[in-house]
């Protein structure tokens, strides 16, 4: 029978509420236990049933995502998804949010976001090979934005650079809805042998449980609960709930774990992420249908006088829980001693399905595992469709040359070198295409395989039409991968939304899931991992619905010879048709102040499939030198992004829609004009049109005439001037 310790506080309704449990949820706790919880048990329910750990508002919707496919080895539910890439190799990947901590303490919040996603991947037995980050900040003129950008970028670099994992891509956007709630979504991919994948399980009763890595401190206590609440004026007071990262410890942990994994002594392994020791041990036991007995007084600590409650809820970083095959315990101590890491036996696997903790011999927690996992609350929260945004009105004429320069200087479009040159994007010597092109491309040493990575999301399109907007983002990721020759093989998602108790937010979420599901099914991309971040709101206003997507692609063959910018004497073609759609576009926001106006551009899956196939063929056969998907700012911006060295003259209708429309299913390619027939043949069945030729010092398209130097200045100088200003 679990006992309270003399020092434990008395549990009152107010304390229950402070733990984020509703009166109804607390009644389920009482009924499930048949008694009142002890103080540590209350903390355990609080974190395990938090939105962050239990997915209680999102679970019923996420089930609609397609998660299987011929390449899928492990789908959602484990630490990361695993997809087969042939020859006994797999790619293991996931993206996860660290939004709230990164707003409160940008450097450590972002750094530990990277640390957490790295552990999710190497826990599976994979050696991490690539990182990406999807970032959202508030308006440039908001007083907090600049320092948040500095802190978050330094934190990401500080952790990833020290670990020696290249940060090869990502995206950064700015909008007023993120003023008080920035987003930091970190992605990691690793490579693992198909027969060497490790899972978070515990095996048979009697197996010993080991704690390895950094000692436990008081940092991050109740991080998961914080991540499940909205921001208010007290956000600054939550700083102690942010974890502190030590990438050096994690590098040692990575090497030690991979070394141990090569020895055939591990039953299961799980990293201590959100809700730390509690969720890692409960999840491991739950997957095996087993129980666990943890001696909390054996847990290595780095602070004095820590209580069972604190030990269970700490989110100290760089820690792992291992279950070892009987008789191999000495090996664990040997490996961790080599790497100067702490290692302690802290528990035993039991057969009774109960998760128990003792403190110097006294049982302080005893909860049947299914109560924490299966019986966790699940809500089908009310959903109400938001009224459609007003249509795009008749627009007054603008100077289109000035408009193009304005769009190139927009922080969503302009050069982010200032960010990515703070990230080591080459360590590991596999980066064939780093940041700055449509997608990153990495070789897999010892094979002819290349993995492509892209992160993308457009909250304006998703706000305009959560279903179609999200489908469009999936399609855009597929196009980005095709621009470096790769087939899409899997998707991971970070669903960043507002308060799920608001029916319009819940509607956005549900619609977004359906749009993603439909597009993934149509385009043959399984969703293999992901995470949900709700309550992204400040005061009463939610962020733009932001399903952060990261997609992985694969192809085999000689590395493509691609450039980001044109050289002189090339022909340029537009594949996929003319621009027609200005709804939710950057053009109407930047030039006409029309935010939240118009519908998202529709998605034609037949067109997307055909375009993807054509682009892959063009790139793989070396027919094109530059391939660029059309996104923010439409055709004019895409042309300008390729014209930063060499200009050209292009024949496009003199209209805002043709130049700046954000219709999906389109790309531009540059090629040797002598091979135009071959290029067009590869695009059979698609609209394809010769736009013009590259060369000269000016970009001329419709009535736009701008010197290349002015394009370069608008695109290249604006962001660094602001951020260092």
């Amino acid at each position: 029978m679990s006992q309270s310790l003399p020092s434990d506080p008395v549990i009152t309704p107010a304390i229950v509420a402070e733990h984020g449990l509703s009166p109804e949820e607390y009644q389920v706790v009482l009924d499930g236990l048949g008694r009142a919880p002890t103080w540590p048990e209350l903390g355990v329910f609080s974190v395990m049933w938090s939105e962050h750990c239990s997915y209680k508002s999102s679970r019923i919707h996420l089930k609609r995502l397609p998660t299987t496919g011929p390449r899928v080895v492990i789908g959602p539910g484990e630490n990361a998804g695993v997809v087969d890439i042939g020859d006994g190799l797999c790619v293991c990947f996931k993206m996860e949010s660290h939004n709230h901590p990164s707003y409160i303490e940008p450097y450590q919040g972002a750094a530990t976001g990277v640390g957490g996603i790295l552990r999710d991947v190497f826990t599976m037995g994979a050696r991490p090979v690539a990182l990406m980050d999807s970032l959202r900040f508030g308006r440039l003129d908001h007083p907090k934005t600049r320092s948040l950008v500095h802190g978050v970028v330094a934190g990401i670099g500080g952790y990833g650079n020290c670990m020696g994992i290249p940060t090869v891509g990502g995206e950064t956007r700015f909008d007023e809805s993120y003023d008080g709630n920035n987003l930091v979504n970190a992605f990691c991919a690793g490579i693992v042998h198909r027969d060497r994948i490790f899972l978070g399980t515990v095996g048979d009763a009697g197996n010993k449980v080991f704690y390895v890595g950094a000692g436990t401190g008081r940092d991050g206590i109740h991080g998961a609960t914080m991540a499940s609440a909205s921001f208010d004026d007290d956000s600054d007071e939550k700083r102690p709930t942010v974890q502190v990262g030590d990438p050096f410890q994690e590098k040692l942990l990575l090497e030690a774990c991979l070394e141990l994994m090569s020895m055939d002594v591990l039953v299961g392994i799980q990293d201590m992420g959100a809700a730390g020791l509690t969720s890692s041990s409960v999840e491991m036991a739950g997957r095996a249908g087993a129980g666990l007995l943890l001696a909390l007084d054996q847990v290595p600590t780095r602070e004095r006088d820590m209580t069972p409650y604190e030990l269970l809820l700490s989110e100290s970083q760089e820690r792992m829980l291992l279950v070892i095959k009987p008789g191999h315990e000495a090996k664990v101590f040997e490996v961790f001693e080599k790497w100067d890491l702490r290692c302690a036996e802290v528990g035993t696997v039991t057969g009774d399905g109960v998760w128990r903790c003792t403190w110097h011999g006294t049982e302080v927690a005893a909860i049947p595992v299914p109560i924490l996992t299966d019986a966790a609350p699940k809500y089908d929260r009310p959903r109400v469709a938001r009224p459609a945004s007003p249509p795009v009105p008749a627009l007054p004429p603008v100077d289109r040359s000035a408009a193009l320069l304005r769009l190139l200087a927009d922080p969503d479009v302009s050069d982010k070198r200032w960010i990515w040159r703070q990230y080591d994007h080459q360590v590991g010597t596999d980066t064939e295409i780093g940041p700055g092109l449509d997608a990153a491309l990495l070789r897999v040493k010892g094979t002819a395989k290349h993995l492509a990575f892209v992160a993308d999301s457009n909250g304006h399109h998703v706000y305009a039409n959560p279903r179609v907007g999200t489908a469009g983002q999936v399609a855009e990721c597929v196009r980005n991968l095709a621009c470096v020759g790769a087939d899409p093989i899997g998707l991971t998602d970070c669903m960043n939304f507002g308060n799920p108790r608001k029916p319009e937010v819940m509607w956005e979420f549900s619609e977004s899931v359906d749009g993603m599901a439909e597009a993934c099914r149509e385009l043959g991309v399984p969703v293999v991992s992901g995470n949900v971040s709700l309550y992204n709101e400040t005061g009463d206003s939610s962020i733009l619905p932001t399903p952060g997507l990261a997609m992985v692609g694969l192809w085999e063959g000689a590395a493509p010879r691609l450039r980001g910018r044109w050289t002189a004497g090339r022909a340029v073609a537009l594949i996929g048709g003319e621009g027609t759609h200005l709804g939710a576009s950057l053009f109407i926001r930047a030039m006409h102040g029309l935010r939240k106006t118009g519908d998202a551009p529709p998605v034609d899956f037949d067109r997307e499939r055909a375009l993807g196939a054509a682009l892959r063929r063009l790139v793989r056969e070396g027919l094109v030198e530059v391939a660029h998907d059309l996104g923010d700012g439409g055709l004019a911006v895409a042309l300008a992004e390729c014209a930063l060295d060499v200009g050209g003259q292009f024949d496009v209708a003199t209209s805002d829609t043709a130049l700046f429309g954000e219709d999906h299913g389109r790309a531009i390619v540059a090629y040797d004009p002598a091979r135009e027939a071959e290029v067009f043949a590869a695009c059979a069945g698609l609209p394809v049109r010769h736009l013009g030729a590259t060369g000269g010092e000016r970009l001329e398209v419709a009535d736009i005439k701008v010197p290349v130097a002015a394009l370069r200045e608008a695109w290249g100088d604006t962001f660094p001037r602001w951020v260092d200003g």
């Binding site: 500080g158 650079n161 050096f248 590098k251 790497w339 703070q422 010597t429 980066t431 064939e432 040493k445």
Partner: protein, 220 residues
């Protein structure tokens, strides 16, 4: 016979595998050496690779230089053996007093990962040769601002110990745009840029090959 090149792994080294890969690509045998080893074994050259030894805590390279294997590295260097320190390895060499100068934080206090153009100059070493074409290879560091007091600087410049210099200005603020130096005898070389990263055409280019080709030639 294959020439053996030791690549030392300190806790926190993360370019050790890249250095071994580059060594092997140039027909030499890369020998992994653990920092707790007390002997380098029978090797013909030593590379201290890049990374964040001991997390760069205290000061970059300041703890690594006390690793057990460093005694044998110092002995090997003093006996005239070729030793190359790249990035964090250069910082370790400076801390160990095997090459002159120290490395300060970049002048703009940001980590920088970008290509730089280098001029190879000074005396010939087992890794460099005076003259030849400039090379374009990347830097990736937070503390690459090479600095020395005036006397040391005068001696280093006067004795031809500057072996790599940034062309067009040092992005990290390094004194006199110095990117790499050697010791007085010329057998120990340290540089901040990463030649091991650019040794294949599909991954950044092949400008880093000259360093490994030179070593292979000297050892043959």
């Amino acid at each position: 016979m294959n020439r053996r090149v030791a690549v030392v792994t300190f806790p926190g080294s993360n370019c050790d595998a890249d250095a071994r890969h580059a060594v092997a690509l140039h027909g030499m045998e890369a020998v992994p050496v653990w920092h707790k080893d007390t002997s380098l074994g029978n090797v013909d050259a030593v590379i201290l690779p890049g990374g964040f030894s001991y997390g760069d805590y205290l000061r970059c390279g300041a703890i690594a230089r006390f690793s057990p294997v460093m005694q044998d590295v110092v002995r090997f260097a003093e006996a005239g053996g070729p030793v190359l320190g790249i990035c964090n390895g250069f910082q370790v060499l400076c801390e160990a007093g095997l090459v002159p100068g120290v490395l300060l934080r970049n002048s703009k206090l940001k980590f920088l990962c970008q290509d730089v153009t280098l001029h190879m100059e000074g005396r010939d070493t087992p890794f460099t040769r005076n003259g030849g074409v400039d090379i374009r290879i990347p830097i990736a560091h937070m503390e690459g601002h090479w600095y020395a007091d005036d006397d040391t600087l005068a001696r280093v410049e006067g004795e031809g110990q500057v072996v790599f210099r940034y062309v067009g200005g040092a992005p990290n603020g390094a004194t006199r745009d110095i990117a790499g130096v050697c010791n007085a005898r010329g057998n120990v070389v340290g540089l901040m840029p990463h030649p091991e990263r650019y040794v294949e055409a599909s991954v950044g280019g092949i400008d880093g090959k000259v360093v490994f080709e030179r070593l292979a030639e000297v050892l043959s």
